[in-house]
Symmetry: D3
Subunit: 135 residues, 6 copies
């Protein structure tokens, strides 16, 4: 079994704010992250599988790159995650929620080989996710 | 002569938008950067001078770090550069304009030894500035 | 299940030296690492769990950062690991032993969600540890 | 259980080309990667095991470094993977095939502790492999 | 005066070989670099000038990026510098010669504002060039 | 004119302590840096000159690498800069003093082409030096 990963970078604005909490609760809970700010996000998408004995590939990297561009990059790069991305509407844009929403977007295009996603908000903060069925 | 540099990292939202241009002109000129987005900015601040023969230092790095924290970091980290920073009000927040405004903020605290500032919006884009008198 | 990670950087001196071995054996076993030297260490601490449906977080990153600062950073940054850190006394300060000792320090503060720690001595050498119960 | 990793960097030329496919099929399948080009490859080799209570080590890092140098680096650094490396002959040099061939070379020298290898063609593309028995 | 820089990354094969020297002289002079190998090259292109008071820009970064793509990237990425690039024909492809040839390609498109180019073969080796008139 | 740079990495212990100051003065001046600690230092050495029309090189990178290994690396890697390096004896080991002492060591071997040295204590702190005659 091999795991093949492709990196995508994008720049976006966001803040941590939960509509079900009061202003004071949001400020206390999220601290400075409750202010609108932004990141150069880095996303590593990993597919898992056997290697095709003819092509030598788990999956075609050019196909993965194209899917990442069309499904994610065009929707989120140089955008405000609080207002511009339909599939993030109503969610607190923590790295956890963002990576899980990205998984839902990618899964229909990459199939069951989609194995893990790592999203870096910065080199200091990152989250790994392996899909809703992982235990 | 020695040049001593200290790095500061901060996360902020911004967009490129000039109030003296129409919406169409802004979109045409700045492209996707006209949308609100954000970065993990990296700033390298350089002071220049001789080394003190007793201390072995051009300037005390702890002092430089404290100035960067008090004068810049508290004003800009986890902020929206379009609305939250008084000394950026009315400016198009290109890397060029932001680094020049930061120079004006730091110069009274670091004195004539302040020699150069490099601001990275991302590893792909950065600007160097040596002050208003540099030719 | 999500894995949320936070990075901590610190600078420390150390050497590899085992008191139960002779000088010659230490030199032969550890080579140049038997000399006192030092590193800019990088530590990634990972907690694992479900996401709180209200806050969108596995654990509050600000809390993790504060624990890392109080429990680890204040004890080890700008220190000599051979003499200055009580919970490393008597241990050979290999990356393996250091990361396991850090796990013991952090576990009471981060609880059973603490899932994995990766310690880099340099980009060339690093160790992963998942706790004493991991098989 | 601890996982100890050592990084190796090398520069090599390669292209993606399968002799069992026609020229057109190769160009269509591999795109620009069908042209001879090259990379600064980065390889992280991970061994897994318990820590020796005397030495504090899973395995001697100096030994791992020497094996990587003798078995891999001398054969592949500053080489053309298409023609200069006997154990890659006849293989399509995808990252998947290269890392699996490296595993076969290293396994006799590092023993059953060899646990995982990650090969980066670039920061954008990388593959993880855990050996032929992994499920 | 501001200096604005844009980064371009590309992967290419090359070797160091001078047709005016014998095989032995080439091997002795260039060592392992005389073998065909390759790199993930990184190029930083810097333009210098005043900031336009309306746009806040030295030069439009999107224009610089487009020039780098059309003039350099399409010619050199995923190529063999020894045979595939007309403007490198007959040159020893040291970093010095490659960056000077790139300068000649870019100068007609970027004008006299083109100020400096830095080419990394790897993080360990890089060259800076400021044009044929620089003293 | 071209500037050719070569990177060297080494790990060493040091502290900031001036024998001409009292203990209290040292602690007040240098803060936590007065404790013995250590770094993964990174040194970029730059030579400047014209390119040889036959070889295409400013200077032979293999020669520079060998000089850096013999003159610097063997003396300072995996060492305590406070006690193990004769040419640092009696100096406060600030980055400024260390890079100037390294310049004196390298200058006889690299000649007048030696143009600039940059020493990183960490990505956050670095110093540039151009020799005793630079204004």
């Amino acid at each position: 079994m091999f795991e093949l990963s492709r990196r995508l970078e994008f720049s976006a604005a966001h803040r941590l704010w939960c509509d079900r909490l009061s202003d004071d609760e949001n400020r206390r809970l999220y601290g400075p992250c409750a202010n609108l700010h932004g990141h150069n996000y880095v996303l590593d998408v990993t597919v898992r599988g056997d290697v095709d004995p003819v092509t030598g590939m788990v999956m075609d990297l050019n196909v993965i790159a194209q899917v990442l561009d069309e499904v994610l990059f065009r929707a989120i790069d140089h955008r405000n995650l609080e207002s511009d991305v339909p599939w993030l509407a109503g969610k607190v844009t923590t790295a956890e929620n963002v990576v899980a929403a990205m998984w839902e977007q990618l899964r229909p295009h990459l199939g069951p080989g989609l194995h893990r996603m790592r999203l870096y908000e910065s080199p200091q903060n990152f989250v790994d996710y392996s899909g809703p069925g992982a235990a």
